[in-house]
């Protein structure tokens, strides 16, 4: 019997090491360790051994045989699993650089990108974002902004006038395409009570021949603050805070006297780049008392400042665009660059 066990172990171990697949190892397992397997059969014949001591001894060696064969089977099984995985992985090889599809994410328009970034900066400074119509009344666009009929500054805006019929005379309908975002100042003041802290980005229109630096349709962002005791120092400080937030550290700003009918005192604001050069950015000033009045705000109780500048120019400067018209051709080869 002991000899039978030894032979069975030898045969089983040989079969285990010969097994070349998981199926074969399963077969070996069944035929060796199963009830009808070789060692299983020997176990069944244990009962025939009469001598207790002998039966115990043979039983022990049978158990040992079970354990060693079973361990060998497990070990071989793990080996075979690893081999099969390796074969699967080897067979699934991909050259990732063969990938054929090009990137196809969409791109926001450069003006939108600059627009959103500006909104975010001003929201961070405590402003909300106001909007207004692009077709405006003469009153909102000019009259309420201290440019009554015949004001010479009106001539500088190159206004596009709107009518219901091409034979109307310009100005008859009192409608026009807004020449700046400033009418939103008036609409905001009329619709809400101070304190007011808004920016108003939007599309504006001028009767202007397109060239490398001008478009007849472009975008501005306007700021308006109306609160108690707002001073020109608050304007200068806000412009400076914006400059550092939007352009970054190392950029500073200055105000220098200028003229706009809707602000007084008025200023241009320039940005000083880290290399010391200056960039004219936009106009600003203290809201003119007449404009506050037009907005239903008492200038003795409240004061305010306003500022405005071009959004398109921000995009043009940031990306080194040499011809602003390229932003509006909607050529996918341009759009995909940003």
């Amino acid at each position: 019997m002991t000899n039978d066990i030894a032979a069975a172990i030898e045969t089983a171990l040989q079969r285990v090491s010969d097994a070349a697949s998981l199926d074969e190892i399963d077969a070996v397992s069944g035929e060796t360790l199963g009830k009808k397997g070789v060692l299983g059969g020997l176990k069944a014949s244990l009962a025939k051994i009469a001598d207790i001591e002998e039966r115990k001894a043979v039983g022990r060696s049978l158990n040992e045989a079970f354990a060693s064969v079973s361990a060998a089977i497990d070990e071989r099984r793990q080996e075979l699993i690893a081999i099969e995985r390796a074969a699967q992985v080897a067979g699934e090889r991909l050259d990732l650089t063969e990938a054929m599809d090009a990137a196809s994410r969409g791109h926001l328009h450069l003006v939108t990108q600059a627009w959103q970034e500006l909104e975010d900066v001003f929201v961070g400074l405590g402003f909300t974002v106001a909007e207004g119509p692009e077709v405006e009344t003469d009153w909102h666009n000019f009259e309420a902004l201290n440019m009554s009929e015949g004001h010479p500054a009106r001539g500088e805006f190159d206004t596009l006038f709107i009518g219901h019929d091409e034979h109307e005379d310009a100005g008859d309908s009192g409608l026009l395409l807004r020449t700046h975002t400033s009418p939103v100042q008036i609409r905001t003041m009329l619709a809400s009570e101070p304190p007011i802290y808004i920016v108003a980005p939007g599309r504006v229109f001028r009767r202007d021949t397109p060239d490398a630096t001008h478009m007849p349709v472009f975008h501005q962002i306007e700021g308006l603050v109306v609160d108690r005791d707002i001073s020109m120092a608050d304007l200068a400080g806000t412009i400076e805070a914006f400059t550092q937030a939007f352009f970054g550290k190392g950029f500073t700003s200055r105000l220098r006297p200028s003229y706009f009918p809707f602000t007084e005192p008025s200023a241009e604001f320039d940005i000083r780049r880290p290399d010391g050069s200056w960039l004219e950015l936009g106009g600003c000033g203290m809201v003119h008392p007449e404009v506050l009045r037009a907005g239903g705000v008492d200038p003795e109780e409240w004061s305010g400042f306003a500022f405005g500048f071009g959004i398109d120019r921000m995009a043009v400067m940031r990306h080194g665009i040499t011809d602003i018209r390229d932003m509006y051709v909607n050529d996918i080869r341009f759009i995909e660059q940003f």
Partner: protein, 786 residues
């Protein structure tokens, strides 16, 4: 507006034109004052190496017809030979010689160069080549007595100078003069403004030219008779100053007139006394009345043009814009009458615009000339003219007519120091104001904390307290204002609609669709070409006819963009735009609203539906596709309207083939166009959590045969209702038309995923759902396919 530094210096001095740093400081100061310096131009710097030389003899070389041989003496005793292409010089003349090594203003360097083997030792120069004049017909002939070997500039008396080109704002008419700029600059620098040109003209017997003003557009008209005129050339220095500021020298009378205008800002006009019929009348023109102006153009006037007429009511000048040709100063003029007037700005601006004639005079009048300046200007005119007319006599009895249009000369405004400090954030005292304001002619009378400020006649723009505060701010210095950041009481944020608009953009970009921005202004026929009906608003003064209508739809702009891309071999482009459309709404503002349009080139209507589903899901909006209505310009069997409740909010599907052809797009184009104002402002807020069931789910596949006349989404809605609360997902996974399915029908296969929140499903549950779906479908005429 250009100003000349040497001229400013007469009121200063401010800077030596050769001292670069001092010149830059002046430019910086001007900019700080709001007189922005656009450009600083150094002029009169001589070309080094060009010296005076006398022509010794001139010879024609037999083999060179077009050039001459010239021998010159540059004062060093050497005889130099040069070739020369001009022939206006002869022996004895003094000419500018560019010596070897000289670099000319055009960049050319003078080298020893030979013709026919004979070297040239320099070059003789024309006025143009040296940048001292416009004459290029010959060599510049210098004063015959000039010392030889001197710089030509020294011989000509040219000195280095600087022109500042100022970008003046509309509120500074006073700075359309040298004196006005100098006044601001000296106040800024706390130095006195020097007086110039105290007159020394002889005054004579009274001679009055009668003047009548018939319209308040002319507020003041003075006419002074000046005799003893000898018309001739102006002094060189005057010519140089006029030319440096872009004016041509004509003769001493006209030049002095222009000089006074540039210096003091007072336009004026000298008429030959013998041509004006003994008097002036100022009146509005009669419609169609003509006048030939000094530029020899016949002007046809309207009743809005102001005319200066002579004693016989014949027009002699377009008031405030340009004089007439017939009363022009001639060589034989001996007596002139000097007109100095004040005109209302707006009328001048309109006349100048109408006639397309912007003169130096109109530029000043339309901004506002000092109404008190006439007497000083007349004195300055006479004093300057007497330099070239020693016998000049200014006659007493000059007319000074004024109308109701004449501005008030004495004006004042009260200024509260509290208002100054509130507006500027400063801490100024009333006693600080005289030092800031008096030097610029705003005269302060103290009155405790509130002051009264007399406004100068040359600042018509200044009328109110805030105007004076601006002057205080300017002369205090914008750079010295403090910097504080106001604290908003609320927090900064985007509105719900603005946040949702950004979400919409993000969804589209994530789907690979890029944002375009076509022009919202289109040609009058563009909407019709795109099959979109409706009247458009029109631009009444378009720059080009092709851009004169306001769009009703974003489709045409995007189709044009697709065509452009196709044309550049980029097919299959996907674009979107979020922008306004402007349909008219009777009177007043149009029904302007925001619209989204998506175009997918090379894709079919299903692609548009898929994008719409993504948008609907992201924004939580539902709109049904209704193919029973085909929107204009859309494909007849592949399009429908988007219906939200009763409202049609847009169109979806494909562009009609004829529209594609019209826009020269060859690909199929899937499209969505929808108004988004409702979608953005619609129900926002947070979505409420629905617990995910932990119970197992079961799938049930059901295929129905349905008539092609019934949209699949109707069946979908029926199944949703039928399947009740156990349905967690419903998907159409197959459609089939063909053998086995009735003609005009299709089979639609749906997979229903069923799940309960609290229990395992039983076969009975599933059977119940199946039968409920079957009967719901039956109401649409759909049969369960076995």
């Amino acid at each position: 507006m250009k100003v000349l530094l040497s001229w400013l210096n007469e009121f200063g001095p401010f800077a030596d034109p050769t001292d670069h740093e001092a010149v830059e400081a002046v430019a910086a100061d001007l900019t700080s004052l709001g007189l922005a310096v656009e450009e600083t131009i150094a002029i009169g710097s001589p070309v080094e190496g060009v010296i005076s030389a006398r022509v010794l003899r001139v010879e024609q070389h037999p083999d060179a017809a077009k050039v001459r041989r010239v021998w010159v003496d540059a004062g060093d005793g050497d005889e130099r030979h040069v070739w020369c292409g001009a022939s206006n010089m002869s022996a004895g003349d003094v000419v500018p010689l560019a010596t070897l090594g000289t670099t000319m203003p055009n960049g050319m360097t003078i080298e020893r160069r030979g013709i026919l083997g004979i070297d040239s030792e320099g070059m003789l120069c024309s006025a143009v080549e040296l940048g001292v004049g416009e004459d290029h017909s010959g060599i510049l002939l210098l004063d015959g007595d000039a010392e030889l070997g001197l710089s030509y500039a020294q011989v000509l008396g040219i000195e280095p100078d600087v022109v500042f080109d100022l970008d003046l704002t509309r509120n500074r008419p006073d700075c359309w003069s040298i004196e006005g700029v100098a006044r601001d600059l000296s106040a800024w620098r706390s130095q006195p403004l020097a007086e110039v040109g105290e007159g020394s003209a002889v005054s004579g017997e009274a001679r009055t030219v009668p003047v009548s003003i018939a319209d308040p557009a002319c507020g003041r008209f003075t006419a002074t008779v000046v005799s003893g005129i000898r018309v001739g050339a102006s002094p060189e220095w005057m010519v140089r100053r006029l030319e440096a500021l872009g004016m041509r020298a004509i003769n001493n009378v006209v030049d002095v007139s222009n000089y006074v205008m540039l210096e003091l800002g007072q336009p004026n006009h000298a008429y030959d006394l013998s041509t004006i019929g003994g008097g002036f009348s100022v009146r509005m023109a009669r419609d169609g009345e003509t006048l030939t102006t000094l530029d020899d153009v016949e002007r046809s006037c309207t009743v809005d043009d102001l005319l200066i007429c002579d004693g016989n009511d014949v027009p002699v000048g377009l008031g405030g814009v340009m004089g007439g040709a017939d009363s022009e100063i001639s060589d034989s003029t001996t007596e002139v009458v000097l007109e100095i007037a004040w005109f209302a700005p707006l009328g001048i601006m309109k006349t100048a615009t109408r006639h397309g004639l912007r003169s130096e005079a109109s530029a000043r009048y339309e901004r506002g000339v000092d109404p008190a300046l006439a007497d000083r200007a007349a004195q300055r005119f006479a004093a300057l003219l007497s330099l070239t007319c020693p016998d000049l006599v200014v006659h007493a009895g000059g007319a000074d007519e004024r109308s109701s249009g004449m501005p008030e000369l004495i004006r004042s405004v009260d200024v509260r120091i509290s208002e100054v400090n509130r507006s500027l954030g400063t801490d100024l005292a009333a006693s600080d104001l005289p030092g800031l304001l008096n030097p610029i002619g705003f005269t302060v009378s103290a009155n405790g904390d509130d002051v009264t400020v007399a406004l100068p006649s040359w600042r018509p723009d200044s009328t109110s307290e805030i105007d004076v505060i601006e002057e205080i701010a300017r002369h205090h210095g914008y750079g010295r204002l403090g910097r504080s950041v106001p604290k908003p009481t609320g927090h900064g944020h985007l509105t719900q609609a603005q946040i949702r608009r950004r979400l919409l953009r993000d969804v589209l970009v994530g789907l690979g669709i890029s944002e375009a921005m076509p022009n919202p202004i289109v040609a009058p026929d563009t909407m019709a070409r795109a099959g979109i009906e409706g009247e458009t608003l029109r631009i009444l003064n378009p720059l080009v006819a092709d851009e004169s209508a306001l769009r009703l739809s974003l489709r045409p702009g995007l189709l044009t963009s697709l065509a452009h891309n196709e044309h550049h071999r980029r097919a299959g482009v996907s674009l979107f735009e979020i922008g306004k459309v402007y349909p008219p709404s009777g009177e007043g503002l149009p029904d302007e609203h925001e619209v989204l349009c998506v175009v997918l080139a090379g894709q079919d209507a299903y692609a548009a539906v898929l994008v719409w589903r993504q948008i609907s899901q992201a924004l939580g909006v539902g709109a049904m596709i209704d193919q029973s209505t085909v929107p204009g310009g859309m494909h007849g069997t592949r399009s429908g309207v988007l219906r939200a409740g009763r409202d049609i909010i847009g169109a979806i599907g494909e562009i009609a083939p004829e529209v594609l052809e019209s826009f020269e797009v060859t690909e199929r184009v899937a499209v969505i166009e929808a108004r988004i104002d409702g979608m953005l402002t619609g129900k926002g807020g947070s979505r409420v959590y629905r617990p995910i069931s932990r119970m197992p789910s079961s799938d049930l596949d059901l295929a129905f045969v349905l008539s092609d006349d019934v949209p699949a989404d109707r069946l979908e809605r029926a199944l949703r209702q039928g399947a009740s609360s156990l349905l967690v997902d419903l998907k159409l996974f197959d459609t089939y038309r063909g053998p086995g399915v009735l003609e005009g029908h299709r089979s639609l296969a749906w997979r229903l995923r069923l799940q309960a929140n609290d229990r395992n499903l039983t076969d009975a549950d599933i059977a119940e759902v199946k039968s409920a779906c079957e009967s719901a479908a039956k109401k649409l005429g759909a049969e369960l396919r076995s």
